[in-house]
Symmetry: C2
Subunit: 127 residues, 2 copies
DNA sequence: GTACAACTTAGAGTGCACTCCAAGTCAATA
DNA sequence: TATTGACTTGGAGTGCACTCTAAGTTGTAC
């Protein structure tokens, strides 16, 4: 309705999700039903955007959809769900810290091998 | 044959892969055909282990199987494949650096929300 | 000798997260 | 008035990476 509302296409552009995925996430209850314009089209508001950006973050760092659904359910419980929401986020935090460690380890292995290959390549050159 | 050889079960235990997955990886050419004992059972050697640990690392940091297959093919090319192997690892390195950044950003968001929830919870307590 | 466990194979089945399709509605433009 | 394009829906299809099944073989323990 107002200037600030966004079409599904625009939200896709802003979030990196496809329009298919946006509809899919709504269908499976990962988002509250989005308000519709008079013609039936989805009309995304700023609060929707904030939530979408959060779940995009959670997804891209490996949280499975069922877990995000649980989180969404806890949002619907209002204040009653706050400590459970915190627990869920803390669990994800722990996983991310492990992930970060593994990532650093793998980066070290990669750099080692790259250096080795590079040395071999320049030896080949002069040999 | 020697004491150092390992059964598929042992390799599964050491690498975290299932025996199913180990056979699957061999079938799709992600590993060279593993030597067989007289009874036809797979007999893993130390060089196999090193390779398996590498591909486990690459998988767990998000490299798709087709890409690891390409890498395995380059291994079979011997020295001729070295610079292409380096290029592939450098590409993965770039992706991991982006991944690490996103992970840190998400950790920051998570900690922010956790702190917010925690504050709310203690307010609730005393209020 | 027979039960059992650990292995073998080809191929079928599963779970996840999308991704697409067909048919229809609506508003604007030629 | 007819076409275009962006949207709507329920439901089917896809791709990836396993994961499991069925049937068979082999070696050890009772």
């Amino acid at each position: 309705m107002t200037d600030k509302d966004l079409t599904i296409q625009q939200v896709a552009g802003l979030t990196g999700l496809s329009v298919h995925t946006l509809r899919y996430y709504e269908k499976i209850g990962l988002m509250e039903p989005i308000r519709r314009a008079k013609n039936g089209h989805r009309s995304y508001h700023m609060d929707d955007m904030e939530w979408i950006r959060l779940i995009v973050r959670l997804r891209s760092t490996g949280m499975p959809i069922v877990e995000m659904q649980r989180f969404a359910d806890m949002m619907r419980m209002g204040n009653a769900g706050i400590s459970r929401r915190r627990a869920l986020l803390e669990e994800h935090e722990q996983k991310l810290m492990l992930q970060a460690k593994e990532l650093e380890d793998t980066l070290a292995v990669l750099r080692d091998k790259i250096a080795y290959y590079r040395a071999w390549e320049s030896g080949e050159h002069s040999g």
